[in-house]
Amino acid sequence: MFSTVLLFREALYGALVIALACSVLGVYVVLRRIVFVGAALAQISSAGIALALFLTGAGIALGPVTHPTVMSLLLTIAAVMFFAGGARGRVPPDATIGVTYAVAAAFGILLIAKASHGEVHDIFLSGNILGITRNDTLVLLAVAVPVLVLHAVFYKELLFVSFDRETARTLGYNVRWWDLLLYLTLGIVIASAMQFAGVMLVFNFLVLPAVTGLLMSHTMRGLFFWSVASALGAAFIGFSLSVPFDLPSGPAISAASGVLVLIAWLGRKVAVRT
């Protein structure tokens, strides 16, 4: 079984990089209760890929802008600026996120339907982990490493504004700028991971590992450790099972993540009772 997996090791490395980056940022996504911002950003990112494919198919070449990753990144950053701006008028924030999600999903599907070779490009929306090459992994690393370093350096600032923004503000923290940094790094990671992992797997990596971490630990250090460990574990297990059993990799990894959440939840139940 492992010899088959080794054939696709470049793809596995890519999946592990995506798992690592998303699971670290996912801690903030879950703790700040912005899970649906994560979902909306993932959907917008995929709509960006669809738009790039549509424009290319229609013969509209705008240079690098029509590259799927670049277009995805541009749209995601625009959405990040929008979400980081906070509440607007009478529309509740979660309704704004819902509208964005629904519209992005609909446009993504419509654009793909009208893009030439649309059926081939469906893979961009559902992901294609097995298609990750060494170069792709290097690009993913080039995005993930600076983002993770930034998060390590400014850990206490990001934690403070996430935990108690009002007090942080009284101590002189520009809460909006820190929000923007968090959302921007989130957007960049999502956009770079999207064309390989697809909406479902990116969203999975942003939420499920952090939930496992919350169930497994009582400290922030433990939460980050278990979030990353469970994401890497799910990526490895799901990928390793998907190749020999000829299963789609993304859903297999998501299912493995789900099983880990379930194990953590049961473990917590047992620990509380004993």
Partner: protein, 257 residues
């Protein structure tokens, strides 16, 4: 000595809508002021202007250059879903002093433990914040405010949702911090009866109205009846003042509900 904060004919509000107009008062060093009023009257608006997160629509709010707030938010403003130990939360009060991108030192840790000791809960330092009682959580947030070495302690509804014992203990602790350490304190609360027996001055905010004075000046039947717009009785029991609204027919207060 110049006051730490001065509101000079300040009009406060949001957008073009003024919530409070022409407010003038100051907070001198060593003051123990209660900012009291019903929910929605404008206490938070004054608090935000004081902390600098809201600019006055007219007039000025001047802060001393040496001013440093130790802010204690309402307990429910803090997210207990974060898996943080008590000591981690207290340490946050020093984050701005530690500097951008730097880690807390042993000195910061020592100060955090001292702050916890100061509020009587050092033994809880390594427990998860979420596991504490309401009063212990409040003490943690007060310790966090103190560890930053502030010259004004600002508490927003510190006894909200607490039982009688916890309320008395928290108000007693705040009073002790003022008496023992000479700390300037501003306490925001909707509960006049609770605050009036601890603070030295009261700023009373009711819809569109503002009045400030010593506790003796404000806690009179005439002043309170005038501010609340209903007949009020001020009784004294065992050295504590108790404010009671006189019973009235329902229709007399219907427009105030």
């Amino acid at each position: 000595m110049p006051p730490l904060v001065t509101f000079d004919r300040a009009t406060l509000g949001y957008g073009r809508r003024a919530v409070l107009t022409d407010i003038s008062f100051d907070i001198p060093e060593g003051d123990f002021l209660g900012l009291v009023g019903p929910n929605g009257a404008g206490k938070t608006t004054i608090l935000r202007a004081l902390l600098g997160s809201l600019q006055p629509l007219a007039g000025t709010v001047t802060r001393s250059p040496t001013l440093r707030f130790g802010y204690v938010p309402q307990r429910d403003q803090v997210d207990y879903n974060f898996p943080l130990k008590v000591i981690d939360v207290v340490m946050m009060g020093r984050y701005d002093r530690i500097g951008l991108g730097r880690r807390p030192s042993d000195h910061d840790r020592k100060l955090a433990h001292e702050a916890l000791e100061h509020v009587g809960i050092d033994r809880l330092a390594d427990l998860p914040l979420a596991d504490l009682s309401g009063g212990q959580k409040q003490r943690t947030l007060i310790a966090r405010a103190l560890v930053g070495e502030p010259n004004v302690l600002v508490l927003d509804e510190p006894t909200n949702g607490m039982d009688l014992v916890a309320t008395t203990q928290i108000l007693g602790l705040v009073r002790e911090l003022h008496d023992r350490d000479g700390l300037t304190v501003l306490m925001v609360s909707h509960a006049l009866n609770e605050v009036a027996n601890y603070v030295e001055r009261i700023a009373l905010v009711v819809e569109g109205g503002f009045r400030i004075g010593t506790t003796d000046e404000i806690m009179t039947e005439t002043a309170l009846s005038q501010m609340y717009g209903i007949p009020v009785e001020v009784d004294s029991f065992d050295g504590h003042r108790i404010v009671v609204a006189k019973r009235q027919p329902a229709e007399a207060t219907a427009d105030r509900v």
